[in-house]
Amino acid sequence: MKLNLKFSLLLAWYYGFRTIKRGPSYVIASLSSPLTLLFLVYIISRGELVRFAIAGGFIGLVASVALSSSGDAAFLRLQLRIQDLYVASRVTPSDYMVGLTLSYLIFSIPGIVLYVILGYFYHIFTPLSSIYLAMILVLLVISTSSISFIISGSISHVRNVWGIAGILSIIMTVLPPTFYPYTYIPKVALYALFISPATSAAVLVQGIFGLEALYLPALYIIIGETAIYFAVARLLTRWREN
């Protein structure tokens, strides 16, 4: 797979950074859901689970931004016809997907900064755990963006775009043990929830931050999920249509 990295990086920079700069309301909207959940967890657990919620906030934010982007990718394809413009050029589906995926990572940066500040005040980081967290977030953005591309490719009408994106984002980021200890749910439910990369990411992060026992199989699961979802997205992304 030969990438036009210049194109992918420029797309990521323009689409990610320019959206933050010129449309800050989107950033606030993307932050509102994880911050509201953080507040609720704080109130309901009387502060006891707030460190889980902060750790989960990183996961929830990155995953929800990437999953909501299924609406975005479908909008670019169906409404703006930008994808068609690039289909009929040298740009490959991988260049386009990598560019958009990186733009969602850039788009998540203000939220990540906010959670870093919160994490600092609650002493949940060590230098090593921060590095692990960054690596998990990269895997998470790739896997969840790939799910977005798979879903967006199957949307045929703009009218369905935002509804499907919203449902997907909630199911795959709020249901998994993102904002609560993964040991609170039965193992069967946990295994079922591994279908969402947010689950394995959350389980790993809780272990890395010392909030729960480290469950190492989650690492293999997230690596496997990322590879599979990316490969499926690459196959199913509607590039040249039939």
Binding site: N4, K6, F7, L10, L11, Y14, Y15, R18, T19, R22, G23, L76, Q79, L80, R81, I82, D84, L85, Y86, V87, A88, S89, R90, V91, D95, R240, E241, N242
Partner: protein, 279 residues
């Protein structure tokens, strides 16, 4: 040059969009005209490698659309119907990104984008977010991409649909600056007459007429179109409108009788086939 042989497209819902199109398009600017649903966009999308045909084949400058997809994509630009720039990006950013996607270095893309936007009269707006531009300006951004990329072939799918007359003229003026071969789909006859050397009329996935504007209009030499308000002696009836083609020397008599007399346009090539034209 574009050649197609028995090109067919049947969508999953059974709609036959193209019904065996075999044409050669050797001219510099060719307009494919037809009503909505005539098959123009399907044709443009198949030939520009965005959509697979159900059967048949096409060649662009000798390259096979099924086997030489990558090579074709290197030599052409296709501007989709109703394409719209990404709102938060400026025209400069959109054109630059497009050129980098086509393999240009960032620095070169910067210089070329800036010069081309200036050339098309977008200097004042090139650094404003695209959602602040008018419809005409937005379309010009796409024509600018095609101009800056300097490809051998450009497909423009209904470049002025929905635009006001001033914006339409602005886009036409930009299209005239394109250097490669241009295939333009439109349902505006005036646009086809204004921009193209040759016109191909599509209706229900088939070619109705194919020729230069002059050839297509030659059958009406010395005639005018009369829209009859009185009498039933018509040549063509489209909806409730009755049309008769008469010698221009007799036009005055028809005016006196209270009918409307108009000069012949490409609309009439459509009308004689009983196909309604869109205004």
């Amino acid at each position: 040059m574009i050649e197609t042989s028995d090109l067919k497209k049947v969508y999953k819902n059974g709609t036959v969009a193209l019904d065996g199109i075999s044409i050669n398009i050797p001219d510099r600017v060719t307009a494919i005209i037809g009503r909505n649903g005539a098959g123009k966009t399907t044709f443009a999308r198949i030939v520009s490698t965005q959509l697979m045909p159900t059967s048949g084949n096409a060649r662009v400058n000798g390259l096979d659309i099924l086997k030489d997809t990558k090579k074709i994509r290197n030599i052409m630009v296709s501007i989709p119907q109703e394409a719209s720039p990404i709102g938060v990006l400026t025209p400069m950013e959109q054109v630059k990104l497009f050129l980098v996607g086509r393999g240009m270095s960032v620095n070169e893309a910067n210089t070329v984008s800036s010069a081309t936007l200036d050339e098309l009269g977008l200097r004042e707006f090139k650094n404003s977010p695209s959602d602040m531009l008018s419809g005409g300006m937005k379309r010009k951004v796409f024509v600018c991409m095609a101009l800056a990329a300097n490809p051998d072939v450009v497909f423009l799918d209904e470049p002025t649909t929905g635009l006001d007359p001033i914006s339409r003229f602005e886009v036409w003026s930009a299209v005239k600056q394109l250097k490669g071969d241009v295939i333009l789909t439109t349902h505006y006859m005036e646009e086809a007459e204004n921009l193209s050397d040759r016109v191909i009329l599509f209706e229900k996935g088939k070619v109705l007429e194919d020729g230069t504007v002059k050839t297509l209009l030659s059958r009406f030499k010395g005639k005018v179109r009369v829209e009859l308000h009185h009498g039933d002696n018509y040549d063509v009836k489209v909806g409730s409108m009755k049309i008769k083609y008469v010698d221009s020397r007799d036009a005055e008599d028809y005016v006196i009788e209270g009918n409307t007399v108009k000069a012949i346009t490409l609309d009439d090539v459509f009308l004689i086939h009983g196909v309604e034209v869109e205004s």
